[in-house]
Symmetry: C2
Subunit: 342 residues, 2 copies
């Protein structure tokens, strides 16, 4: 059997270095055009077949994608990553993950690191601090594939994987209204995040439909963090704010609220009902178990990876659509019907 | 103020390309030695100060470290990573994370990816499938800094960050014995993991001390996964295995056991007491809350990063010591004293 032609053979025949041949094949601009032509002519003549790694170099690919998320200890993002990995691994791509801890500076730095390490594409969920988007535009400008998932922005042209946050929040609030709760408050996420505002919108829409007025005074902003949610709820209770139900913009916020309500000596759902958003694994383990809006995290991750790989393999496709997935209400012990049976 | 000298200036003065100057400064072997000498002489004469990125190139550094862990949705690893990031970020290093899903093939692939993307060092916690270690030896052979944390092996010469697993397990078992439990079983982790075997050892030691015999028949192996632990516990109950207490080798296993015990209509701690290992955030939120052995995950991550960065900055230091951190027993509602008060 004939031995396959190597870069070394080509270099020897032309009396130049291996690295020059390799650079020419990779399409480097640093090489004399005449030399480049001689190399590429010989490559064609000898029917040189680069190996897999060389092929990926030829296509300028590293077969690695990056995922940038706010917090890995949040099971929602862990599940999203699991969906991304499932698709990426099945197609021979490796996945590197960066955690921003919800810091804008960290996000900028992580994005730069991934670009410098030449990933083929990046999937991002925004930090709650992020208000400017130049670092993301620069990813797109570098022709690196880019997809946003869950926490996204409309200020950048890129595909977005979302759930219908407004509808999910509307259904959560409506569930409380239909079960006879009237003094419902909303512990909303930070105003910098579109998802938080969409969930607040869903709350407002359902409340307005039920004839409620002065709805803004029933919305309290809070970071997506247990401890902060606990402190806020304790403060509301201390200040004498009246409520018989809480719709929390995330399960993390709901857990914080649950702690505070128990600490204040009140019972869930008898004194205060509680609905979360996400369906973290702990939601069903809590006592009482938490009624919540389930987000299809794995499926979101899979879809994000599929779109990213499509964009990597076909640079021409410039998709910037929204992919909106549906949520569903999971009723558990933290809500019950207060409506008198006839 | 005088403008600082740049690579461009040097290239212009010598009539050569910028990339040649840059390669010479980086110590490339591909350049004519005479050219290299001319460049380096001029660099010295002009007192050229490379910027931060160029400096890192000079030292052949990417200022990025990789962390390879079995599962990010496990809060123990999430906390460990948070400790790593704290130290790494404070010293200007970026962190890229890879998740093996406890798969050996994935671990090999992740290690290769990080090496190919030229990280300066790697922190690893072994997958439970890993039984050969060539891929780790190759990291060390490539002169990439390497540290193991939590799930480690003695078959590779590298620093190891551990907790005293045997002592932790011994204390957990002793806590049950001292509170009057006699039929204690141990849901142990997989035999491939040293930490699982050390914890089983601690259990055996405490049981033996208390005069128990046939201890091996009280140890049941189980993956570190809720669902598998639930199935195993249901099976033990169905098979009529008698026990009044369970020491689980991890909180994940404990949660699975808790589900099974509740499903079987038994009460914790009245019918069966339960102790875990790790202190995941959910441990205190369970009903009953879980008595467990707390591992200092953050501190382990910080120590791992400190050792890794030392090794990166000083290649001469070839440390392969064990750093053993202490655990502590956190008593909660899943255990109580059965000993009659005098």
């Amino acid at each position: 059997m004939k031995r396959p032609v190597t870069i070394k053979d080509i270099a020897k025949m032309l009396g130049i270095s291996k690295s020059t041949v390799s650079r020419a094949i990779r399409g480097s601009e640093e090489i004399n055009p005449e030399t480049k032509k001689r190399i590429m002519d010989l490559v064609e003549e000898l029917d040189y077949q680069p190996n897999a790694f060389a092929r990926s170099l030829l296509k300028h690919r590293s077969n690695t994608i990056g995922v940038v998320i706010p917090a890995i200890e949040n099971s929602f993002f862990a599940n999203l990553i699991s969906g991304v990995q499932h698709v990426a691994h099945s197609k021979g791509y490796n996945v590197m993950i960066c955690q921003t801890n919800d810091s804008f500076d960290r996000e900028v730095s992580d994005i730069r690191t991934l670009c410098r390490h030449q990933v083929d594409g990046i999937i991002l969920s925004l930090s709650s601090e992020t208000k400017s988007f130049d670092h993301l535009q620069s990813v797109i400008d570098k022709d690196i594939a880019f997809v946003m998932a869950d926490r996204t922005t409309h200020k950048i042209e890129a595909p977005r994987i979302l759930v219908n946050d407004r509808d999910g929040a509307y259904n959560a609030t409506k569930h409380l209204i239909e079960n006879g709760y009237r003094n419902i408050i909303h512990l909303a996420g930070p105003e910098s995040l579109e998802i938080a505002n969409l969930r607040a919108q869903g709350f407002s829409d359902a409340m307005e439909e039920a004839g409620s007025t002065d709805i803004d005074s029933k919305i309290f902003r809070c970071p997506f963090r247990e401890e902060k949610a606990r402190e806020l709820t304790l403060e509301l209770l201390k200040d004498g704010v009246k409520f018989d139900a809480v719709f929390a913009a995330s399960d993390k916020i709901a857990v914080g609220a649950m702690m505070a309500i128990k600490e204040a000596g009140l019972y869930i759902p008898d004194d205060v009902a509680l609905v979360g958003f996400t369906d973290l694994p702990m939601a069903k383990l809590l006592t009482p178990s938490l009624t919540t809006i389930q987000q299809p995290a794995q499926e979101m991750g899979r879809k994000a990876a599929e779109l990213l790989l499509e964009s990597i393999e076909d640079k021409e496709s410039h998709d910037s659509s929204d992919y909106v997935m549906t949520t569903r209400l999971i009723q558990r012990e933290s809500t019950k019907s207060k409506v008198g049976k006839a």
